[in-house]
């Protein structure tokens, strides 16, 4: 994954709450088939706006993220497959 190594991208589970970003790349290969399908169904795709809104109370897991116009809850382990580029403030 060359894109994953770009300095200005980070994994979604590292994105601070309240920072707007967009998705640069998703490593579908590390996700189970069903999980990948559900993320696609939620609208996860390159170029889509994304923002972490809330973190779960125990171990900061799961995450509530806004993807496009929809808010979804996903676990940290799955968020790690999504690379994002934070938008410059």
């Amino acid at each position: 994954m060359t894109k994953a190594n770009l300095p200005d991208t980070l994994a979604l589970d590292q994105l601070a709450v309240g920072v707007r970003a967009h998705i640069s790349d998703i490593d579908w290969s590390i996700l189970a088939v069903g999980d990948a399908l559900r993320l696609k169904n939620f609208g996860f795709d390159e170029g889509v706006a994304i923002e972490a809104l809330h973190l779960g109370p125990f171990g900061r897991d799961p995450l509530a993220v806004k993807v496009g116009r929809m808010t979804v809850a996903i676990r940290r382990a799955h968020a790690a497959a999504v690379r994002v580029v934070p938008l410059a403030a």
Binding site: G56, A73, H78
Partner: protein, 616 residues
């Protein structure tokens, strides 16, 4: 004669599909915010005009035609004309959330691509405006090439227009193109959907969304769990406190009616059947109606506001330790009302192992049928006083019983995931819908359905078992000086059960109640009521059941009885639904076996511990 035209309502979860379906048909159906609340087939009659009707079917919510869950598989099968569940619809109504177009349009594009006559309902326009969105139905219609009608289903706006559009679509002869199938890749469709959304949205004013602000509090890492815990505790206190006045009134009415009948009827077996069987048995159960309705009131409100999904979010990490996921929280919380809808709601859990584990522990959630048993024993043995800060001791004991069930469930789930349902860690992915005010009409309909179901059970299963038990306990007649119940058939059956349950402190009354309670737990109360009524020749009139119990059972026995009911799988309906949902007898048999084993051990430990503390 041509068959009635079939119109299917399809759309994403949380698009307001069920509310729209209700508005179109007036059918009684529950409306919730939880993705996938519509797991069963819901059909109703759609009036098109004078004497003209179509059949309207509400398809399970789906994100796309690539099924990720059993629900989505049903929807796909119907709209693709595979005929497994339903004939091919004559028309489709696609429901879109106007505030979530980019996502919902993807599924709509897939559905439109199937070539069925289609109408789009652009729903929840009011909430879109609240979010600062101005959407053009005209532009959307141009882009999609099908009629688009603006609706606000919960306020019945746009319903007439939609009805007319359906009628027109059905009337105009159109060839149904054979289904081309979902040829396009999801991501390609998603990009097209986003392009169309951009064109259809006229203006967008950034506003501070109410949902986001509320989530800031309700999902706060510290405040969120505290609010959830307080909410659950309040529910259980309310179940006892609020229900007391109406329950007392009902009980007074039942007793008065029973006394009047007793005074009116001539002595004989008919009088005994009616007074000792009907009034003592069924009456003892019906008085718990207020408590059950209050519990359901809370669950319906939490579901329809969107809070249930937040509760799942808060609980996911904790539940993952027990090998469950947050999605299991909703089926399990529903199981507090009744395990049957709870087990059916597990269909929304994608992972088969997570789902099986959830099904197996659902009966450990304290269902409303246990409430009559708990309420009776608590009222008879636990003093009605406060332990400070306005917290009642009785409510506290009740909370403890619920907690015992939950803790038991977590322990069992952990053990199951390490033995019979081994597997890799599951996943938790859920849409978090916008908060909405609960619709009074929908909550009222839900409550009404619960009341009818409960009273129907009281009128059928409970009535039948009560009458059978009355007969078993009344015949053969006791010789003078002999105890009636001891002499009867029931007395002899109970003697057999008694041998098994005596070591855990159960007395003869309980042995008698256990067998009929297999039909449904609350029958135990009816059974004890019937037995004591028959056995009451030496007591005065119709003393309350609590008073009779308090005089005859030791506290240790009462506590052991409570412990038994936390775990015992005494419900034929639950066993039946488990068989249906797991396709065989293997898992229900396993479930019954392990639950009885735990119940026996728990009751035994409780009894002997209490005896050791001098409560025997």
């Amino acid at each position: 004669m041509t068959p009635t035209k079939l119109v299917a309502v399809a759309g994403n979860p949380n698009a307001g599909k069920s509310a729209l379906f209700n508005a179109l048909t007036g059918a009684r159906q529950k409306v919730g915010n939880y993705p996938g609340v519509t797991v069963e087939r819901h059909a109703g009659r759609l009036r098109l005009g004078e004497d003209r009707f179509a059949e309207l079917v509400d398809l399970p919510g789906a994100y796309s035609l690539d099924p990720g869950s059993p629900d989505e598989a049903v929807t796909r099968s119907v709209v693709m004309g595979e005929g497994e569940y339903e004939r091919l619809p004559d028309a489709l109504v696609i429901v879109l959330d106007a505030a979530n177009l980019d996502n919902h349009l993807r599924f709509a594009l897939q559905l439109i691509g199937l070539g069925l006559p289609t109408i789009v309902a652009l729903n929840m326009m009011d909430l879109a405006r609240r979010d600062g969105l101005e959407v053009s139905a005209e532009r959307l219609s141009e882009e999609l090439g099908v009629p688009v009608i603006e609706t606000v289903a919960v306020r019945r706006k746009g319903i007439e227009e939609l009805r007319l559009a359906i009628d027109e679509t059905l009337a105009s002869p159109r060839d149904i193109r054979p289904g081309e199938g979902p040829v396009e890749d999801i991501l390609t469709l998603q990009r097209r959907a986003r392009d169309i959304a951009v064109k259809a949205i006229i203006s967008e004013t950034p506003v501070r969304r109410i949902t986001h602000r509320l989530d800031g509090i309700l999902l706060h890492p510290l405040i969120g769990p505290i609010i959830l815990a307080l909410l659950l505790f309040t529910i259980f206190q309310a179940v006892f406190a609020w229900a007391a006045p109406p329950a007392d009134a009902l009980e007074g009415g039942v007793i008065a009616l029973g006394e009047w009948v007793a005074a009116t009827l001539p002595d004989g077996w008919l009088k005994s059947l009616i007074v000792d069987g009907l009034f003592a048995g069924v009456g003892a159960v019906v008085v718990f109606l207020p408590q059950i309705l209050i519990l359901f009131l809370f669950i319906l409100i939490l579901e329809s506001t969107g809070y249930m999904v937040r509760a799942a979010f808060l609980m996911d990490r904790l539940m993952s330790h027990a090998g469950l996921n947050g999605r299991a929280f909703i089926p399990l919380l529903s199981s507090f009302a009744c395990a049957v809808p709870g087990i059916m709601a597990t269909r929304t859990i994608d992972d088969p192992r997570d789902r099986l584990t959830t099904i197996l522990i659902a009966p450990l959630m304290t269902c409303s049928a246990r409430l009559p048993v708990y309420a009776l024993i608590i009222a008879a043995f636990i003093p009605n006083r406060t332990v400070g800060w306005g917290i009642g001791l009785q409510g506290l004991v009740l909370f403890g019983l619920y907690a015992a069930g939950v803790i038991g469930a977590l322990v069992v789930a952990t053990m199951l995931r390490r033995s019979v349902v081994k597997g890799t860690g599951g996943s938790f992915m859920m849409e978090m819908p916008k908060y909405q005010l609960p619709q009074l009409r929908d909550v009222a309909i839900g409550l009404w359905q619960r009341a009818v179901i409960f009273l129907r059970r009281a009128g059928t299963i409970i009535l039948a078992t009560t009458v059978i038990l009355w007969a078993l306990a009344s015949f053969p007649k006791a010789a003078p000086g002999e105890n009636q119940v001891e002499a009867s058939i029931a007395g002899h059956i109970a003697s057999g059960i008694e041998v098994v349950v005596e070591p855990i402190g159960f007395n003869r009354d309980i042995s008698l109640a256990l067998l009929p309670a297999m039909a449904a737990r609350e029958v135990a109360v009816a059974a004890i009521g019937t037995v004591y009524a028959l056995d009451a020749e030496d007591e005065e009139g119709l003393a309350t059941l609590e008073e009779r119990l308090a005089g005859r059972w030791s506290l240790a026995t009462a506590l052991a009885f409570l412990a038994w009911f936390v775990f015992a799988p005494q419900c034929v309906s639950t066993i039946a639904v488990t068989r249906r949902e797991t396709n065989g007898w293997k898992w229900p048999a396993f479930m019954v076996g392990y639950l009885f084993a735990i119940a026996y051990v728990a009751a035994g430990i409780t009894y002997w511990t209490a005896v050791a503390f001098g409560l025997g």
